[in-house]
């Protein structure tokens, strides 16, 4: 196939481009925006496995992001755990909670997962706000240490960006491998027809649970990276609003597209930063850009890019044919 070679190369190219980016955009502000892009892209990547590929809706993914962030922040600060242990605990806690929600919600057909995750997100929000003795309440939790692994502290913004971009590249590679396998096909079959998937021997509830937990793990990994980057976490970052924003990133990037998830997250994370120059009308322009994308790019950014590539390659082929 025409796409086979670039397909295999693209994670490597992406990794190279992501690593080169801070040398081109060396301004510290750009580096911090790109770090947040990479962190959000990690969550959106997992959410796209769940929503775009397997067709299961989570309305509370910000809460898994929050569980990862808060668990690691509290354990490493209040309880002085080593950072690696706090991070691991945060991710494991998110996975365990996803299991607890997923087991009952995914046994049934229909939109139980959407409802369960919606309620879950609200509960986590309330818990973060009300348990002031533990989380610091609405004003947030401060003094989270910078990430140190194997004796190395990711002190500079650039080094932290490399860590996040590297983690994202790894997650991209793993996700692509998963989708191109027996597991990935089972997930996509579940999206179109649970009946057909079952008739082919797919234990649908087990696969749905697996991808739900996996997406929670992606979000929690993003969460621990986030907490140890900013050094500060507050409940407002993990609410329903952000859950919806994550879904918007999936849809805008392109459902069932790995690169779309990365593009959608990067686009929607950086757009407000660039629009800030417009001062009062930035929200208006943000909304306008969203509406225009939804109207003119039904396949998301990924679908649009594929269309553009097709037009270009046809043009080039046409020119070559005439010459």
């Amino acid at each position: 196939m025409r796409r086979a070679l670039p397909g295999a190369l693209s994670p490597v190219l992406f990794f190279a481009a992501a690593m080169a980016a801070p040398f081109v955009l060396s301004n510290q502000y750009y580096v911090s925006v790109m770090t947040l892009c990479a962190i959000n892209a990690l969550i959106v990547l997992g959410l796209n496995l769940l929503l775009g590929f397997a067709g299961q809706i989570s309305l509370g993914h910000a809460a898994f992001f929050g569980i990862g962030a808060y668990a690691s922040a509290i354990l490493t600060t209040t309880y002085a755990w080593p950072i690696w242990a706090g991070m691991l605990a945060g991710v494991c806690l998110a996975a365990a909670v996803a299991w607890l929600i997923g087991v009952p919600a995914l046994k049934l057909h229909g939109h139980y997962l959407a409802m369960a995750t919606l309620g879950f997100g609200v509960i986590v929000q309330i818990a973060l706000n009300e348990t002031t003795w533990l989380t610091g309440g609405p004003s947030g939790f401060v003094g989270v240490p910078r990430l140190t692994l194997f004796g190395y502290t990711f002190a500079s913004d650039r080094s932290y960006y490399f860590l996040c971009a590297g983690t994202l590249a790894l997650a991209v590679a793993l996700s692509r491998n998963l989708i191109a396998s027996r597991t990935g096909r089972a997930l996509r079959a579940i999206h179109t027809s649970e009946g057909a998937a079952t008739a082919m021997g797919v234990h649908t509830s087990r696969y749905k649970l697996f991808v739900f937990i996996l997406s929670a793990v992606y979000a929690a990994v993003a969460g621990v990276l986030y907490a140890h980057y900013l050094g500060f976490v507050a409940p407002a970052s993990f609410g329903f609003h952000f859950s919806v924003q994550l879904i918007t990133m999936v849809v805008l990037g392109g459902m069932a597209s790995i690169w779309g998830a990365v593009a959608g997250a990067a686009f929607l994370t950086s757009l407000p930063e660039f629009l800030r120059a417009l001062e009062n009308i930035d929200i208006l322009v943000y909304g306008l850009v969203l509406v225009l994308c939804m109207i003119y790019l039904p396949g998301g950014l990924a679908g649009g890019a594929a269309k553009l590539a097709k037009i270009l390659s046809n043009r080039i082929a046409g020119h070559a044919g005439r010459a």
């Binding site: 999206h191 008739a199 082919m200």
Partner: protein
């Protein structure tokens, strides 16, 4: 090990109720190994429900289903392919978010041996398993005449070809018993004739026992070793095509309407 029983499928007293509606009412059916059995009957007779019960998609309230002499009445639906059952759907259930080949590969799901970890890390075991499954799936596609379309998005296939794709996908499960729910629906005369030949080859070359629901009487009479007539959830007659054509009960219930 005891000798394999003569009947591949033996159903007795099977009853399925939806609320007050008895979709199946003490239905009995035996399907001999290596045969083609047609299940016919008027709309709403319970034909699809019978296939749904055999594949575990509805739970019967009474009765027994034996496959290969083993009772599968309460076996979870996803385990039934392992017991030897594959099916197609009356309302096409193609996975339009995948290519034609990937659809067939999904059919090979239970036959692929590598683990999720193998696929994440692209181990040699994964690559070997995929290559093997791919060549088997391409074989199944060629068998139904869709080899050319392997890399097309499945949703782009014309309707008749989507039916053939479902057939290839079901064959990829390597079943003992293949259940087809109105495979000729939406096909023209030429496509229907090819389908008839294909089903015969499935029985003769692949050794797969076939039970099909079909409204096209020419196809049914031409193809079947046995016909079972369903009416109001009960099997009212079984026999060879010529026996069924002569059966007065069948004529009033179905053929003569």
């Amino acid at each position: 090990m005891p000798d394999a029983p003569e009947a591949l499928l033996a159903i007795s007293g099977l009853t399925v109720a939806f609320g007050g509606v008895l979709a199946l009412c003490e239905a009995d059916l035996t399907v001999a190994r290596g045969s083609v059995t047609a299940i016919i009957g008027p709309n709403g007779a319970g034909k699809t429900t019978l296939i749904n019960a055999i594949t575990g998609m509805v739970a019967p309230s009474a009765g027994k289903i034996l496959l290969n002499g083993r009772e599968i009445t309460r076996l979870p639906a996803w385990k039934r392919p392992r017991a030897g059952v594959a099916r197609t759907f009356q309302n096409l259930e193609i996975c339009s978010n995948m290519t034609v080949l990937e659809n067939v590969l999904t059919g090979a799901h239970r036959l692929i041996g590598y683990s999720a970890l193998d696929s994440l890390l692209r181990t040699p075991r994964f690559l070997r398993g995929e290559a093997q499954a791919r060549s088997m799936a391409l074989g199944d596609l060629a068998f139904v005449g869709l080899a050319e379309a392997a890399d097309l998005p499945a949703g782009q296939l014309p309707y008749g070809s989507q039916r053939l794709l479902e057939l290839a996908r079901a064959l990829a499960l390597k079943p003992d018993l293949l259940l087809l729910d109105e495979p000729a629906a939406g096909m023209n005369i030429r496509e229907t004739r090819l389908l008839g030949a294909l089903i015969r080859r499935i029985r003769d070359e692949r050794g797969v026992t076939v039970a099909l629901i079909e409204h096209d009487m020419d196809l049914v009479m031409d193809l079947s070793d046995q016909i079972a007539v369903l009416n109001f959830g009960a099997v009212i007659a079984t026999g060879t095509p010529s026996e069924i054509q002569k059966n007065p009960q069948v004529v009033t219930a179905y053929l003569g309407e």
